[in-house]
Each structure stands twice: as structure tokens, then as C-alpha cells.
Symmetry: C2
DNA sequence: GGCTAAGGCTAATAGCCGTAGCTTTATGGC
DNA sequence: GCCATAAAGCTACGGCTATTAGCCTTAGCC
């Protein structure tokens, strides 16, 4: 039949569109194939590892997107301003495309590609943290704290875990203040 | 054939054992039924909503367990001591039974049972935070910050997102200090 | 002792993933 | 311009899953 001319990237595109519309549990090779206008087994020509590899590719793509957003938010800013912008960008991405963000933990074991993408994301955070005079092991501990706060808040927000009436935006502001304040007095790099 | 005498609680027990051993993606009605010594459709007599309801029941159970651990950790302590103990207990539970903790987000929409269980968990945190003189809306914002940090760190730890060589225990210590420090200067309950 | 309801079963449907093997389309070398 | 080859599509199939329908047997109660 007529060649569609798929590429692995296009398969991921279709998968992400499907996830955005119907959630991560709707991701199935059959529905991706239908959307791509192709029979299910044909996908294996482009994503040889099947569903597992597709999920891996999705995680890589989403991590790269997120890293891009954080990098954009950080450019031209420093200190508290940069941290605030990065955290807001993180939350905006996660809540703007919640299903996509939820696809992140569906990846199998972290592999080289995913590690590379995550490293870029961490790199943005580390760069911002250097504005506080942090380096050595302490910048890593601080970056992990930043990621924990950002991911925890995003993940719980998406899951609907914050059910009380209090304004979520205020919570986010408090959370950002918590972080920036703590970064100013972060243990300077001495002992391990 | 001979009655096994299953109850919904026992079905959840078997499901959790299976998750602990083989991970959350191995949770299938077929394998739970096999472990319970029963044919797959028989499970519907106890868990009428099928797999979806089983996942819901699992989330409720795990949330209750976690709330129990946090409550135990908090008893007899107050202030920084209590916050530290609660955060350590949270992380110990999550990393001690990682697959079980990962089963948490598999729940469908939060329903009454899950909301009740989560409310107890939040109640423990709120009680601890009152030791800092917080109340009104601010105690909620603070509790959300605590949950975000605890969940984010636990979730990323389990996922293997912290790949660098720096000691995770040190990161956790920094994170706890960040939190306690920030709680001491938390905005007192005035405006919204 | 018999009725009822609960808890088990088998059978069947529908959907999914993944493999095998065939066919067609492009493409590149001659 | 033609032909060989590899890539990209297809159909057919096997095996797993959830879920529903309908039957049978057990346990318990009046």
C-alpha cells in the first residue's frame, strides 16, 4: 500500500498527541497505529522495542521539552529571580500538559538517552544555583532538593491531591520562598 | 469447589504481596487470582469493579499504612524533632516498599475512601505543624509544602532519578533542614 | 429439611502485544 | 532504463488480558 513515510520521531508525536487527549493509560500501539494510518505491526519497523521502547522514547522527549522550558525561563535571570522563574516554568509545563507529565514515570530503567536528557535538565538547575555561590557536592544536594520540590508539587497537583479550598498559587509562592530562603543560607562547600 | 473464603481485604493483601515482589506493572487480576487460589472471574465477587476498583483499594490501603507510619513517628515529639521524624518515616516507607509506594498514583479519581485516608495523613502533618504556631490557611500551605518535598524526594529516589555519586542521606538531611528552617519563619496567619 | 444467597466455576467475547512471513515500494548501481 | 536489494508496509496468528453471562455448589438460617 502507499508508504506513509513514518519516522520514530513521528511515532512519538502521534503517541504524545494521543496521551495529551486521552491520558497515559490510553497509550496503546493499536491506537498510535490507527492515528498514524498504519497497521499495528508496522510500528515495529520504526520502534523495534514495541511499547516498552515507545514509552522510553516518550520519556526522553518529555524530559527534553521540560529541560527546554526551564532553560528558557532561566535565561537572562539570576538568583531568586531565576529560581522563581524556573519553578514557575516547571509547574506551568506539568499542569499545562498533565498527561504528558504523567507519562514520565512510565519509562523503563533509565538508559543513556534518558540520562542525557535528565542531565541537561539538572544542568539548568545547577547553573541557576551557582548564582548562590554553591558548588561541589552541595550544589548537587541543592539541585536534588529543587527537583524534589518541583516534582512533588507538580505531581501532587496533577493527581488532585490538594483538595482543600486554599489557593494553590499561594502554596506555590510559599514553596518558592521556602526554597530561595534556604538557598541563601545553604551550607557552603566544606565537608562532604 | 471448596470455598476459599476470600474477603476484599484478603484480595488486596494478595495484590500487595504481588506488587512488592514483582512491581506494579505485574498487577493483573489473573495473577492475583492465581495467588489466591481462585479462577480470575471469581475475584469479581469480592471486587466488583474489577481491576480499577482493586487499584483504588490498594491506594487506600497504602495511604492508610503511610499515615500510620507518620503518626507513629510523630508521637511524643514536637517541632523540628517531629518534622524530622515524619520525613524520615515517609522516606523509609517509600524506599522500603518502593513498588507499593509506586502503586499510589495508579488509583483512579480520588473518591471518598481515598480522600478520607489522605485526610488522616494530612492531619498528622498539620498536627506537627501546629507546633510552629501555624494555623488557618497557612498551615495548609505549609502542609502542602511538606507533602511536596516528601513525595518528590521519595518518588525521584525510587525512580532512580538521582544518579550522581553524592550521598542521598546527606541530601535528605539538607532537605529536612530546608524545611524546618523555613517553618520557623513561616508567614504567620494574617492575610489570605 | 429445605430455601436462599453468596462464592465458586466454565465458557465466551473482545482487545491488546508481539512474531512470522509475505508483498510492495523506493532506491541505487550498473 | 533496468534490476537487485532493503526498507516499509501488510495479513495471519498465538497468547495473554479483562470482563460478562450463566451455571452449580456450598453454607447458613428459618
Amino acid at each position: 500500500m502507499p508508504r506513509v513515510g513514518l519516522t520514530p520521531d513521528q511515532v512519538v508525536d502521534h503517541a504524545l498527541a494521543l496521551i495529551d487527549e486521552q491520558g497515559v493509560e490510553a497509550l496503546t500501539l493499536a491506537s498510535v497505529a490507527a492515528r498514524a494510518g498504519v497497521a499495528t505491526p508496522s510500528l515495529y519497523k520504526h520502534v523495534s522495542g514495541g511499547l516498552t521502547e515507545l514509552r522510553r522514547l516518550i520519556a526522553v522527549r518529555v524530559t527534553e521539552e521540560l529541560a527546554d522550558r526551564l532553560a528558557e525561563a532561566a535565561v537572562g535571570r539570576s538568583g531568586d529571580d531565576a529560581v522563581t522563574a524556573v519553578l514557575r516554568a516547571y509547574h506551568a509545563y506539568a499542569t499545562g500538559r498533565p498527561h504528558r507529565y504523567n507519562a514520565l514515570p512510565q519509562a523503563p530503567q533509565p538508559d543513556d538517552d534518558l540520562t542525557r536528557a535528565a542531565a541537561r535538565l539538572v544542568g539548568v538547575i545547577v547553573a541557576v544555583l551557582r548564582g548562590y555561590g554553591l558548588d561541589g557536592p552541595e550544589v548537587i544536594h541543592a539541585a536534588r532538593t529543587v527537583r524534589s520540590l518541583a516534582h512533588g508539587f507538580a505531581s501532587l497537583s496533577i493527581a488532585g491531591a490538594f483538595q482543600l479550598a486554599e489557593d494553590l498559587t499561594t502554596t506555590h509562592d510559599r514553596l518558592i520562598t521556602t526554597l530561595t530562603t534556604s538557598l541563601h543560607t545553604w551550607p557552603t562547600t566544606t565537608a562532604s
